[in-house]
Symmetry: C2
Subunit: 392 residues, 2 copies
């Protein structure tokens, strides 16, 4: 186990009806909030009315900015920053999934940062301050409701960069699984692939003596894999959505990765797909992850056997480790397939013409600053290109 620091101060309120408490919960922390959300779905579902009524009842004023899209855009962030300054907003309330939350975090730090907020992402600048962010989660996936991470797309430059700071951990997050009932099945599938990837990025490691976090990772993965098909079958299955909603938070609040060298190659490779082709993040991860596994597993056979046996339920024993591992990866791919996720880039509508460009951008080779991706195996641009080609 490596030395680590764990800090996950977000207060999580979980369960039926919790969103109606939002005004009362925010009152001690804010006089005016920015209500930040995506398209019209929260208006159609009635959530917008519940939230605004609760704020009004508690005497919390609000400005609002909708229009967050998947792979949230820098342009809207800048609009939000200007609006918050003009309206003297002192807290950002994101009502939505990872995109709305990540956009809210960008606004929250942009209001306090002197320069161009994109520089924070581009140059990984340590921020000193951010407005507090609160969340009402409508899509369990990104884990942004408890993490200090944000990912923003610079649409002009076709770049999608992540940034993290403990100052961006939400103040509080409300998770009511009932709010997930009306999601399209596609978003369920994408979300589960994203949550599982958050665990994978931490689970696959060369660090040894990691019994506790191994077990926590495996328990989280098995919970997600058991409950995703149940929610898929009945989109109003509160119990299944509860496991997914809570699982998504545990997958990404940091705990299951403590004391381990982490990987994050798949996330970085996926960001290139989303930046150029605007594909759903989870869908991209479901394509890349099995390919990545097949490309890297020989670098740590023990870890991948453990995965196949403990998570995917493959029979281990005295069998050939390669066979055990490949069966595990096949089962994972089949699981994604049953959720309706494609296993190829072409299935995402991505051709072969820009693979090399993406591989070079992912590793920085495009900017003459190549930094290999990954922890379990270091991946240079030629490796990344190889993986893209494996799943084309």
């Amino acid at each position: 186990m490596l030395n680590f620091e764990f800090y996950a101060p977000a207060r999580i309120l979980f369960g039926k009806g919790t969103e109606a408490q939002i005004g009362e919960l925010l009152k001690p922390h804010a006089s005016k909030v920015l209500l930040h959300y995506g398209g019209g779905s929260i208006k159609k579902s009635g959530l917008y009315d519940t939230v605004t009524a609760s704020l009004q009842k508690s005497g919390v004023a609000f400005a609002e900015l909708g229009g967050v899209r998947p792979n949230p855009r820098l342009a809207l962030v800048k609009e939000g920053i200007a609006l918050c300054k003009k309206e003297n907003v002192d807290l950002i309330l994101a009502v939505g999934g990872g995109s709305a939350i990540d956009s809210a975090k960008a606004i929250a730090m942009g209001v306090c940062y002197g320069g161009d907020v994109w520089d924070v992402y581009d140059q990984n600048i340590e921020i000193e301050k951010a407005l507090p962010v609160a969340v009402i989660l409508t899509i369990p996936a990104a884990g942004s409701e408890s993490s200090g991470d944000t990912v923003i797309t610079n649409e002009e430059k076709q770049l999608k960069y992540g940034y993290g700071s403990p100052r961006l951990r939400p103040l509080l997050s409300i998770i009511n699984p009932e709010l997930f009932f009306t999601l399209p099945k596609e978003q369920l599938a994408n979300g589960v692939a994203d949550m599982m990837s958050h665990v994978f990025e931490r689970y696959f490691t060369n660090t040894t003596h990691t019994d506790l976090t191994d077990g926590l990772c495996e328990a989280t993965l098995k919970t997600l894999m058991k409950n995703a098909p149940l929610a898929c079958r009945n989109m109003r299955d509160y119990d299944a959505w509860s496991e997914l909603g809570f699982g998504g938070t545990v997958a990404h609040n940091g705990l299951v990765g403590m004391g381990r060298e982490q990987d994050w190659a798949c996330h970085n490779m996926e960001h290139e797909l989303s930046a150029i082709y605007d594909v759903a993040h989870g869908a991209g991860l479901a394509v890349l992850t099995p390919g990545w596994m097949r490309y890297v597993y020989k670098d740590n056979v023990n870890m991948f056997v453990q995965f196949a046996v403990n998570v995917m339920g493959v029979e281990g024993g005295y069998r050939d480790p390669d066979a055990v591992i490949l069966e595990g990866i096949d089962r994972l791919q089949a699981f994604f397939g049953k959720l309706g996720l494609t296993s190829t880039l072409s299935g995402l509508g991505i051709g072969e013409d820009r693979l090399e460009e993406m591989a070079k951008k992912a590793t920085g080779a495009a900017f003459d600053d190549e930094q290999p991706l990954g922890g379990l195996k270091k991946l240079y641009w030629r490796d990344v290109l190889e993986i893209y080609k494996m799943v084309k």
Copy 2:
């Protein structure tokens, strides 16, 4: 899954050498701290020198109060409160195990509370303020380094009461497994029994649809049971102590019990033993837990079969559930035995003469205010007496 609120803001710094950072870490939060500890062990080990040197180097002034004993006493808490007021202390730094931390929390709220701090425990008064508490952990057991709980013994009244508030969650806790190398084996055993009990109290529940937390509980229990014998064999096994140190925190920071009705009968029954006979808390729990399991399991056979199979590795299949469960409980008792823990009250030096008195105090029947203990099965004073007798 039940609605829940999860809030565990303690910043955990884990690993080798972390205690030397204490001055730098506390400087932004305190100008004068109370260094609160137990007997002379931290002076003998050199930890006292490391800590005071770090505080001095960072310009953090300190007063000090040693002498905390296991089952920490109200009298010392009152002394600490007076000292903090006199010395204008603004943060309590506990260097020790659960007793030092619990005592520090009592002082931290006592300084801010107008009346007698015992009333807070006795009448479960909601506190509005407490000084911040920081921790350097020297015994992994109580989980108090991340919880908002404190247990204090009123030696005059022979009462041991617990109290919890989110305001008592430590600001930060330092866990360096190297500091555990010099513990007596007995404290390792007691500590592991206490950590496991923290999971059991949450794990055994009648709440259904608890896949994620079931898995997290089981992973934590298995980690503790795998690593306790390793550390017992070689008390300088850093890796094993790391799993126990991190496991003890995860066992009691609240996460593994979220959304579940919890039990806590064993803890309440044990507090009576400690209050009168001053036995080690973990040792008392190791006696009571198997007895409690045998007394209550018929109320939720499925849960106990799951425990026997998933945690204790008993073969399930088509066997008689009672046999499976009893084999699981026997294995648990054997595990405690191998750590050197007794399985009887007489082994703790407790006779039969005050069992009824303790059963009545545990349930409040002694004060004409009987409230049954437990969640999985409600236990009245006659039930508690029965359990005490089963393990006499």
